[in-house]
């Protein structure tokens, strides 16, 4: 094994044994602390971005009971509008960038209002299949509209200078921009919690999710509420689209690429719950970031295993959070299992068996106890 050149080390890592090309998870040897922290940082950033986008989708599903495929399109429009403003009008100074972000999010909010008022409201009483097809049609229309307006070449926004650097924590680089996104995500989660649980408007939203007709009968303007919810969700989609411009190339396909991941997040978080969506994004981000350390080839599979496991064990768990808490280790169990080495198989089976025991045993015992 050739010696390491110290100048090449990305961050001043502590001394450790050579892992070789087989990945660090040989199980005999614990992963490097710095690497784990770095992966957690990455997972957290991934999670917060997904949460920003998924929260709006989850809100629409929770209240309007519509699966909005076009949510990814609204996100893409937000990205393009922000780029347009930065590129042609305000420039990428700190204030210019934020101005562009807020205007872009508002523009998308207005588009959301138009979509809801003019089109979507005629779909509420239709079957789910028609609603799904309708929002899918919107995806195609928006995609072509974006292509018509902004062309097909990838574009991107430069990070404002103030946000371009990074700080170092425990030898791990934390780019300012990513750190800011993590805080914005947490702030939005907190804002949601306050809105839903501590305001009268939040009470109405929760009531609308439960029984829309009863709420109308009690004198609430339900159709206005629906528009408001859709605008809020669209605003969030536009906001996340605009915020993603400094760390992502914007090109056709952005809409479809993101919507699948966001759907996984919303599904594993339990449809329609904001907290669920937050924890769903965290579970997704962490599974992706740590999963590729075990199975570099199966980064996609890890997310789908997680979804399948959560869906299967959900009926056996009391809360969605519990399902997630068991789902993540079980997913890692499967990833170990897929290593195919004796150590991997033993570790995988052990993790899965322990989780299965914890999930099923109380239920089975209760069942036996009941007459």
């Amino acid at each position: 094994m050739p010696p390491l050149t110290p100048t090449l080390s990305p961050c001043k890592g502590r001394a450790r044994g050579e892992g070789g090309s087989g990945g660090f998870f040989v199980l005999s040897q614990l992963p490097d602390f710095t690497l784990l922290l770095g992966q957690l940082r990455s997972g957290l950033t991934t999670a917060m971005f997904l949460f920003l986008i998924a929260s709006g989708l989850s809100l629409i599903f929770g209240v309007l009971k519509i699966i909005n495929f076009a949510h990814g399109s609204l996100y893409m429009i937000g990205a393009y509008v922000a780029w347009h403003l930065v590129h042609y009008f305000v420039g990428n100074s700190f204030f210019g960038f934020w101005f562009a972000v807020l205007v872009a999010a508002s523009v998308v909010g207005v588009i959301g209002a138009l979509v809801e008022r003019l089109l979507l409201r005629h779909m509420y009483k239709r079957e789910e299949l028609y609603q799904l097809l309708f929002t899918y049609a919107l995806v195609l229309v928006f995609a072509d509209a974006c292509k018509y307006i902004w062309g097909t070449q990838p574009v991107s926004v430069q990070r404002p200078d103030v946000l371009a650097g990074y700080m170092t924590l425990f030898d791990v680089r934390l780019p300012y921009y990513d750190t800011m996104i993590i805080f914005i995500g947490l702030a939005i989660a907190g804002g949601f919690w306050l809105l839903l649980n501590r305001t009268s408007f939040g009470r109405i939203i929760r009531a609308a999710a439960l029984d829309r007709e009863m709420l109308g009968a009690l004198g609430t303007n339900v159709s206005g509420l629906y528009t408001g919810m859709f605008v809020l969700a669209s605003f969030l989609a536009g906001l996340s689209g605009a915020l993603v411009t400094p760390i992502k190339g914007i090109a056709p396909g952005l809409d479809v690429d993101i919507i699948i991941e966001v759907f996984i997040v919303v599904v594993i978080g339990g449809l329609g719950s904001v907290w669920g969506t937050l924890f769903g994004s965290l579970a997704y981000g962490i599974t992706l970031a740590l999963g590729i350390l075990i199975q570099p080839r199966f980064s996609i599979v890890a997310a789908f295993i997680l979804m399948a496991v959560v869906l299967v064990i959900r009926p056996w768990c009391r809360t969605q959070l519990q399902a997630l808490a068991y789902g993540v280790p079980v997913t890692f169990g499967f990833l170990f299992l897929m290593l195919g080495t004796p150590a991997g198989i033993i570790a995988g089976l052990a993790v899965i068996a322990i989780c299965a025991l914890l999930i099923f045993a109380p239920q089975l015992m209760r069942r036996r106890a009941s007459p």
């Binding site: 094994m1 050739p2 390491l4 050149t5 090449l8 080390s9 990305p10 961050c11 890592g13 892992g19 090309s21 660090f24 490097d32 710095t34 690497l35 770095g38 992966q39 940082r41 990455s42 997972g43 950033t45 991934t46 971005f49 995609a143 072509d144 292509k147 097909t152 070449q153 990838p154 574009v155 991107s156 430069q158 990070r159 650097g165 990074y166 680089r173 780019p175 921009y177 990513d178 993603v244 400094p246 760390i247 992502k248 190339g249 914007i250 090109a251 056709p252 396909g253 952005l254 479809v256 690429d257 993101i258 992706l288 970031a289 590729i292 350390l293 570099p296 080839r297 980064s299 996609i300």
Partner: protein
């Protein structure tokens, strides 16, 4: 005259007969072009198509080939093999196209190749890079490729990295699908052959369209590579580079990154602007200008600028331009608009493309198409430009 059922039924037949006659009398030579014009791949389909259109415009003005004009029949392949096959069939059966020149993705190319074989109509693939397209088991007389391929691209990158003598540990990052897998595997195999002392310490396989590469970048950096081969392309390259830069990846390997996937094209440099990871080695199909460029290339660039009204012009039109050029030269040499004769003419044929001579090898009907490689530095306008760009001729390391 009363319109009888027989007359109505007969009308299409009569029309067909008339067009048949027109055909025989030297109407235009019809070339079917299945190419993605919608969806994400339109990004490349549209500029590539312009190269074919300009070539045909110029050719027809100059009198065409064998005294006949060329007419392009263009269909959107939507970048899916199903749709590409459907439109290719439709063009052959309904439009009576004489040849096919097109397809873009590595999924479309092999799919339409089977249609070409079935109908005995030549398909010239100008862009798909997968080795499978003209692999011995898939080869037939009607498939030709004027694009580079994954073997050439992977090996070129390996040749470059092998020259950096202090590099002992390399890593690769490529998307987990046909193109990415083929090119990264070929790279790894070739670098081991050239430099047995080099170890491939990590191969990252994000999915195509991954939104967040930071977990992959971070894990790769922990393996402490001295150099990286990346096959990120298009908007994916933009995203990857933007995320890798603040994590210090390019500094950690002292910018010793060779990026395939046309990361040196004007499309990529324009998108990234001042955020481009300056100092890396990247490639491009074509460049607005380079050292010792032949006069033919200079002239081509002026024409494509005027035709597309873009400055700097896209790097993609050259691909379809050269494919059309090969087809035309093949027809000229065969002296007939007949796929069998043109196929025989194309095998082993050398033509003068805007950037120099190109040969379609007889043994696998693959052109010896290399790409331009060079160090990306900050240009006068702030965006990256390729310094000392060189066309790397793949002949020495093609099988």
């Amino acid at each position: 005259m009363t319109i009888t059922r027989r007359a109505v039924l007969g009308l299409p037949l009569a029309l067909a007969a008339m067009t048949g006659i027109a055909h025989a009398q030297g109407g235009p030579i019809k070339v079917g072009v299945p190419i993605p014009l919608s969806g994400p791949a339109a990004l490349y389909g549209e500029p590539a198509l312009k190269g074919a259109q300009m070539f045909v415009d110029e050719l027809n003005k100059a009198g065409g080939v064998l005294g006949r004009k060329i007419e392009l029949i263009v269909r959107d392949s939507k970048a899916t093999p199903d749709e590409a096959v459907r439109v290719a069939r439709e063009m052959i059966l309904k439009e009576n196209v004489d040849f096919l020149v097109g397809t873009l993705t590595s999924a479309e190319g092999p799919a339409v190749s089977t249609i070409a074989k079935e109908n005995k109509i030549i398909l010239i693939a100008p862009i798909p890079k997968t080795d499978q397209l003209v692999a011995p088991k898939n080869l037939h007389p009607y498939i030709f490729r004027t694009a580079s391929n994954t073997t050439i691209e992977g090996r070129t990158a390996a040749e470059i990295i092998a020259k950096w003598t202090d590099v002992k540990r390399v890593a690769t990052i490529a998307h987990d699908y046909a193109y990415g897998q083929d090119v990264a595997k070929e790279f790894a195999a070739h670098i081991k052959k050239l430099r047995p002392d080099i170890e491939v310490v990590d191969q990252a396989w994000p999915k195509l369209g991954e939104a967040d590469y930071t977990p992959f970048i971070n894990a790769q950096m922990s393996k402490k590579p001295d150099a990286i081969f990346s096959a990120m392309w298009g908007g994916h390259f933009v995203t990857w580079a933007k995320q890798a830069k603040p994590l210090g990846m390019f500094d950690a390997v002292k910018n010793r990154v060779v990026n395939g996937g046309e990361a040196g094209s004007v499309e990529a440099t324009r998108a990234l602007g001042a955020e481009y990871p300056f100092g890396i080695i990247a490639n491009s199909y074509d460049l607005p200008t380079y050292k010792d460029q032949p006069a033919t290339h200079k002239a081509y660039i002026e024409r494509i600028k005027a035709f597309t009204k873009e400055d700097p012009p896209s790097s993609w039109p050259i691909m379809m331009y050269v494919a059309m050029q090969f087809l035309t030269e093949g027809i000229k040499k065969a002296g007939a608009v007949d796929s069998d004769k043109v196929s025989a003419a194309l095998k082993g044929m050398t033509i003068q493309t805007p950037f120099g001579p190109q040969t379609i090898r007889a043994k696998d009907q693959q052109a010896d198409r290399g790409e331009f490689y060079g160090e990306m530095i900050k240009g006068p306008a702030g965006a990256a430009v390729m310094k000392d760009a060189a066309y790397i001729d793949p002949k020495p390391f093609m099988d």
